[in-house]
Amino acid sequence: MKYTYVIKRILYSVFVFAVVITLNFFIPRIGVDDPAERYYPPQGNMSEIEYEIIKQVTRKQYGFHVSTWQQYTNYLEGLSRGDLGSSFRPGSPSVLGLILERLPWTLVLSVSTMLIGLITGVLFGVLAAVKRGRWQDTMLLNASTIMIALPSFFIALILSFYLGFELEVFPAYTDPNMVSSFSWALESIRRVAQNAALPVLSMVVGSVISYAQGTRNAVIAVTNEDFVLTARAKGLKQGTIRYKHILRNSMLPIVTSLGMSISGLIGGQVVIEQVFNWNGMGTLFLEANNSNDYPLMMGIMILLSGFTIVAILVTDLVYVLLDPRVTVGDKR
């Protein structure tokens, strides 16, 4: 029964991915009559015929000379070889290359945010649950209601203003030479850490609080379960109950929210990257959007969706492993 479930889940994900690829291909083409014209607007001193030739060349260069359906199958064929096409940028660099160049920089921010947020958040959450109703708990509740209403880019601006410009603790904008001059030397890594401090800090605040609140609620929910009462009645030690019974069982919802945040790891920080001018996927996407670079936009969207699909799939499967009740009941 478990295997059929897993196989069905995987097949369904493949289906969803296929639909998403199709949507990604056709959405940017809504309302665009002639991509060549959009890409090469007519210049002043150009005659009709010259412009026509330029458009022809452009169409040929970017594969617009065939019908839309043909373009679609071409794209799918490329995709099956792992080729996301080439960008409209000068020199037509490959989309995959551009993405891979930026991906590590985004991961620097998102992974460190997630790790710091998860560890500190879970600790705070457990503390708040243990001290339920005391000031630690109330403080967490108040902090979370306030933080929820503050958009992270506003926090980022405030941090950049106060820590970046006023106190000059951390660089307020990312050093433009950080990427080009990067090497695996201590000095270079320290510079990256310094530049990443403010973006990470502005995202960590929200992340810590959301993990803490989630952990707190999960722990309290488990504490009220009957088996905890049974354990108490058996006379088990407080520590054993806390770690073996409560904490282990309250990890399930945390796994879920972790899975959700994993899907946001590579695309979830467009605005923050924009604030600090960080050289990541978000700024790449905005650049692509501003220059109507459709292959690049499609490539990023497909990568993000694919990543999300895998993250959801893995979360669901991990859930099956952790909680055997999930597959009970054949017809869901």
Partner: protein, 331 residues
Amino acid sequence: MKKIRSIGAFIQRIWSHKQGKIGIIMVGFLVLVAVLAPLIAPYDPYDVSQRAAKGLPPSSHHLLGTSISTGQDIFSMLVYGTRVSLIVGVTSGVCIAFVGSILGVAAGYLGGFVDSIIMRIVDIMLVIPTLPLVIVLTNVLGRDFWIIILIFVALGWTGLARTIRSLVLVLKNSNYVKAAELAGASRWHVMVRHILPGTSHLLIMSTALSSAGIMVAEAGLSFLGLGDPTAISWGKMLADAQGGGALLFGAWWWILAPGLGIFLAVFSFMRLGIVMEEIANPRMKQTSSVYKIFKSLDSSYIADVFNSMDEYEQLGVTESAGGGETRETNA
């Protein structure tokens, strides 16, 4: 008449709740500011010709100072910004409730073919990263005020529809619905008169919460320079502040004012949403689920609004019903 009275009773229940009173007062205040904006604002917020008044700190003449690049009065801009935020947020929230309830009830009650089509669409839309998709759509469709609302609605209904569907699956088996069916009521009649009223508390709550979520989203979109370029919105004010060197020249008022506006609007709508959640579902009490909603403006902001409502399902309100295919195991 009866309906009006029941709505009145609901508002009264919110009013008698301490937090709810705060929420209602704050929302009422914001609505008042938005409606009376031309009377409240001391200067013309669109006036960019005040060269002499550039970058003034807060004073009795300019309550919140002026902008560095154009000399616009920040307080007037803040007041006018309320309009954009409220109109986009509330309109989208109401439309999402409308679309989400229709599709959710249809999926849950009719089942079969309709159900699988709607739920497949929901599954697919959950997977595509929302913010990039919004950006692409504004690029393709344009950045007009109403188009942005349309995009938010088109992408925002999925989570609500899923939650409503699982509630409907429970309601469908309740005795009064069975009785109506046996008495020969048409499907349409059952859906409109018996099922839909059963989901009303969820709808009211989701309108408040998704309005708040969309206000943040709108601010983020304008901040990226992708909102309506002719409107004065808080997100755009922040973008102007960053672009105009507010950070460099220490013009803290220029950053703080729009941020405060966003905070007030989102906070008050969320308060209201949380209180409604508590009234509708007293078991939840202080363990509010709303923490998930705005982890920040990440790509899943709208989805998060509705994920918060999944706790509804976890609490056993809809135990026998699953959600969409991909999320079933989470519920």
